[in-house]
Amino acid sequence: MSTALEAPAVAIERIETPTWQSIRRFAADGFSMTAAVVVVLFVLMAALAPWLAPHDPYESDLLRRLQPPAWMEGGEWSYFLGCDALGRDILSRIIYGSRVSITIGVAVVLIATVVGTVLGLAAGYMRGWVDIAISRVIDILLGFPYLIFAIALMAMMGPGLENIILALVYKEWVVPARVVRGEVLAAREMEYVEAARAVGAPRFHIMFREILPNILSPVIVVSTIRMAHVIILEASLSFLGLGVQPPTASWGSMVADGRAFILDAWWVCTFPGIAILLLVLSINVASQGLRDAFDPKFSD
């Protein structure tokens, strides 16, 4: 019997997992797909920066100081978006700057999500002192204004890419942890969890095999939304002068540098700002599409 049944039983039917369905729903949504494509383009831009950038982003030429964009008087097509105060090509710096934003956005959200999910699961499922301890830490961290916390941490650790990531992660994990904890509290009362307990499933199995797959989609949705947020936070930190080390280009610090010249060299801070807006907007649109696709009950 077993040999006879093995193959055909499943082959008869195309299996559509819920996740796959969500992905198909997402792909069918033109608006969100466009946004996702823009996000992918930004990622490609970051990855291929050395090949895409028309100039060395660090090459300073004081003779080109504050040269306007190509279409303005005094502009040059090879310096399409003009030059900054050190005569560096703004377009190239924007292209390189995407590396900082994307690296930090992805790294922070990834680490925070993993940490937050594990802690949220532990707090929500185990309850008791584990929950009390984790929830207290969450409460305390929530009491801190985000930027002030990050600024203080940056002052403590000093500038640098890794430190920005750490400074943001230290508070960012609270977000997925709270989401996960809430979802777990709801999920652990579901009958399918009781069903697993009724057959003696160990705690670890219930947390990671029964509950986790079911709460993953809100977590993914929240993570993408937070990624947009984190990118703005990094830019804000860089804007306040606590970002990556110069001459590394970061959009936030480019805006900050350009601020001194807003009275006539408006292009210096306008274009990097548009880059931030575009990337963050795309991520937000895509994550909204993701939410609609993964959680159809929100879809209207």
């Binding site: 559509e16 003696g200 797959p213």
Partner: protein, 332 residues
């Protein structure tokens, strides 16, 4: 004390389950009234091997809590549970695991009880995987056999719960509960979420499976019609207490407790012909958070007298293997 007609498979003595609703230190310190919900209040009964004990009661009477506490899905507050001669009241979670092969549960909600992210194969095969009693390929064979015996097709194996109707989902739940060959199954309102025509299908299925596999059921429902048809004996619960328990026919023919009488007379009957004398109840079910003193039913009982408001009646044997907890019965 309430003996099952056959060798008891499950014996429950003075089982109680209390939920502390405001247990944070601060709430206690701020001297808010302590909200203790006595969902199950020192209940005793037994289920004989091969028997179906029907448990009926209105919403919030504690019947589901009782069922889950019996299976140690919830921890009992006091009392004891003996399953097949083994006292499982204090067994640790891991110690319970082996026993869980023999006691299973079918849930009410066919939507919430199946993990939406798992295929039928994973859901029905989970108990075997957890219990570690079969290799993967064997699990698959066993699952195929099981789902076919509950009326599904082997082609459904890779589907996900959302691709099934309510009735089919309930069949999956039944397959999961029965795949380990348990001897004792709690059916927690297995049909109340289903449409009438599907209800009948599931009741029929549960009946035939019982006969085939020699199962013992603790069958919970708020529908006296369903209970009447599936049970050998019926226990009636009101606000955490069993107020009457007895053989089905006896209990339906000649209910003793006023609540049982009211319950039976309230059920709308499709048949013409002589109606049961209506015992009309007034008022609402009191909150389980602050149950009335004395007999918990006295606030709605048309026959209540002074003693009922003070003294809590205990379950006493009546004629024909029935027991009921009512001061009236004692008097007569």
């Amino acid at each position: 004390m309430i003996e099952a007609p056959t060798r008891p498979l499950l014996e429950v003595t003075n089982l109680a389950k209390t939920y502390h609703l405001n247990k944070s230190l601060m709430q206690r310190l701020s001297r808010q009234p302590i909200l203790d919900l006595k969902a199950v209040d020192r209940v005793s009964f037994s289920v004989g091997s091969g028997e179906t004990l029907g448990l009926i009661g209105e919403s919030g009477c504690g019947k589901s809590t009782l069922a889950r506490t019996v299976l140690r899905l919830h921890e009992p507050t006091s009392g004891s549970i003996v399953f097949d001669g083994i006292d499982i009241t204090k067994l640790p979670y891991r110690g319970m695991t082996a026993l869980r092969r023999r006691m299973q549960i079918i849930f009410q909600d066919p939507y919430a009880s199946l993990n939406p992210r798992k295929s039928v194969l994973d859901i029905v095969g989970l108990p075997m995987a957890i219990q570690g009693i079969a290799r993967r390929a064997d699990i698959r064979d066993r699952v195929v056999a099981m789902i076919e015996s509950v009326g599904l097709k082997s082609a459904h194996l890779g589907r996900f719960p959302h691709q099934f109707s309510g009735g089919q989902r309930q069949r999956i739940g039944i397959a999961r509960a029965l795949i380990l060959n348990p001897s004792f199954v709690v059916c927690d309102e297995p049909v109340s979420a289903l449409d009438v025509s599907v209800q009948a299908q599931i009741i029929a299925l549960l009946g035939s499976l019982k006969r085939e596999l020699g199962l013992t059921y603790l069958f919970i429902s708020h529908d006296i019609g369903v209970i009447g048809h599936v049970s050998d004996r019926i226990a009636v619960m009101y606000l955490g207490d069993i107020v009457e328990i007895g053989p089905t026919r006896e209990l339906l023919r000649a209910p003793k407790h006023p609540y049982t009488k009211a319950l039976l007379s309230a059920v709308p009957q499709i048949d013409a012909g002589p109606k049961r004398e209506r015992v009309k109840l007034t008022g609402d079910v009191p909150s389980p958070l602050s149950p009335p003193k004395g007999c918990k039913f006295h606030t709605r009982c048309p026959f209540a007298f002074d003693r009922c408001r003070v003294e809590t009646p205990v379950l006493r044997p009546q004629r024909a293997e029935s027991s009921a907890a009512c001061h009236l019965l004692e008097a007569s």
